[in-house]
């Protein structure tokens, strides 16, 4: 029963955003992601993913248009069962797709989780260096996540789970004003088997809300393979 209550509250949070749809600086996008995770040993984990982003709605029109393709790698060293540090490298191809700048991104990450019966709280802090062809932006971000299985206290094969997160981002670059972003995400996932998870989600972004707010709604889909 209590999970249903949580869900209702979250849905209410999302429905607040509905009123914002009418604005012209609103864009709807989609993101699809394939991830491969593998454990090298008990301490060291690798992640590879390919992610594509596409426009679904822009300038008040529904229209499919590819935007970018990301190739991501993360190396994670777990300190113990609930703390880890990671290094990431990402290359984003945009120039040949929609004309924007390609990007090389380096990420340093610290992650901490705490479990309370079925609920799990996650704190993630990241520092990123976004290297574009004409500038470099340093971005720091913090994400708070709450996730839980929809049935029972443990996630079993065949069961679904919910992940909610809120993230704040601060971007700093030379000759540019600092930019603040905020993202709210709601994911519904399914543990299909020991090796496969499928997730669908919605993400609402307020970009540069301290300067000239752009609002984006993302439709997320991902398949996560663990080998």
């Amino acid at each position: 029963m209590s999970y249903i209550k949580i869900l209702v509250v979250l849905l209410a949070c999302f429905s607040v955003h509905n009123t914002l749809f009418s604005q012209s600086d609103f864009e709807g996008l989609g993101e699809t992601d394939f991830s491969f995770n593998t454990d090298v040993n008990d301490y060291y984990k690798l992640n590879f993913s390919v992610r594509s982003r596409y426009y679904l709605y822009q300038e008040e029109n529904f229209d499919f248009e590819n935007r970018q393709l990301d190739f991501v790698h993360f190396s994670t060293l777990s300190i113990d069962h609930n703390r880890s540090v990671s290094l990431g490298i990402q290359y984003r191809i945009r120039e040949s797709i929609d004309g924007g700048s390609n990007e090389l991104r380096l990420t340093q990450q610290y992650n901490y989780t705490k479990k309370n019966e079925a609920l799990r709280f996650g704190h993630r802090a990241r520092l990123e260096q976004r290297i574009f062809s004409d500038k470099t932006i340093i971005r720091s971000r913090y994400r708070f996540t709450l996730d839980f299985p929809l049935n029972g206290q443990k996630l079993d094969i065949g069961e679904a789970y919910i992940i909610n997160s809120m993230e704040g981002l601060l971007s700093i670059g030379k000759n540019e004003k600092p930019e603040l972003d905020h993202r709210t995400t709601l994911h519904l996932g399914l543990l299909v088997s020991e090796h496969l998870k499928i997730q669908f989600g919605l993400e609402y972004r307020f970009e540069a809300f301290n300067l000239n707010t752009e609002q984006k709604l993302f439709f997320l889909s991902s398949a996560i393979l663990k080998i």
Binding site: D42, Y43, G152, D156, I157
Partner: protein, 192 residues
């Protein structure tokens, strides 16, 4: 190109689907509980709050569990498939365990593992058949039981190069009985 990718995906999915394990823990309603067990649950003190019912299946083995809070303590009462009590577990803080037993348990961890970190500790009161189930529970909850509990401790331990999360059982005097390795999948369903 697209059909090839799709075919490859379908292939991977099939490989992945074929490896399903028959281990499951699910939340159920009170009415799905064994009748004998419901009688016992009805006799719980009125101030037992937040009753939640679970069914666990591990291959052929089935068991039932009711979790509740009594005077701020988290309790978990386990039943067999036929509704006979197995044990009552009460969540506790490791540091509140009796000094003598605590040091015995600590010694065990120190001498067997290069590193350890406690995650969770529970007092486990094992049910003896000749006892009246209602009195058994009442005595434990009211702190008037003469029975000494076992200790169930979940800890992350490190031996030479391996690291895993295990559930250890120590007897009433703090001596090691056994352990089982806890499957970590439930700990990591998101993030990298």
């Amino acid at each position: 190109m697209k059909t090839k990718t799709l075919l490859a995906l379908i292939f991977i999915c099939q490989f992945v689907f074929s490896q399903t394990k028959n281990e499951k823990e699910e939340r159920i309603t009170k009415s799905e509980f064994p009748e004998v067990a419901i009688e016992v649950i009805k006799s719980l003190p009125d101030d037992c709050k937040r009753l939640k019912f679970y069914k666990e299946t591990d291959g052929e083995k089935q068991s039932f569990e009711v979790k509740f809070k009594y005077k701020k303590k988290r309790c978990s009462l386990e039943f067999t498939k036929d509704g006979v009590i197995e044990d009552l577990e009460v969540l506790t803080k490791f540091k509140t365990i009796n000094e003598e037993k605590k040091s015995k348990i600590k010694d065990y961890f120190r001498s067997n593992f290069t590193k350890h970190k406690f995650i969770k500790a529970q007092k486990q009161y094992v049910y003896q058949k000749e006892l009246d189930p209602v009195i058994f529970i009442k005595n434990i909850l009211k702190n008037t039981t003469t029975e000494a509990p076992n200790f169930e401790i979940i800890a992350e331990v490190k031996t030479d190069k391996k690291r895993d999360i295990r559930e250890f059982t120590f007897n009433a005097s703090g001596e090691f009985v056994n352990f089982r390795i806890i499957n970590p999948t439930s700990y990591e369903h998101v993030l990298y």
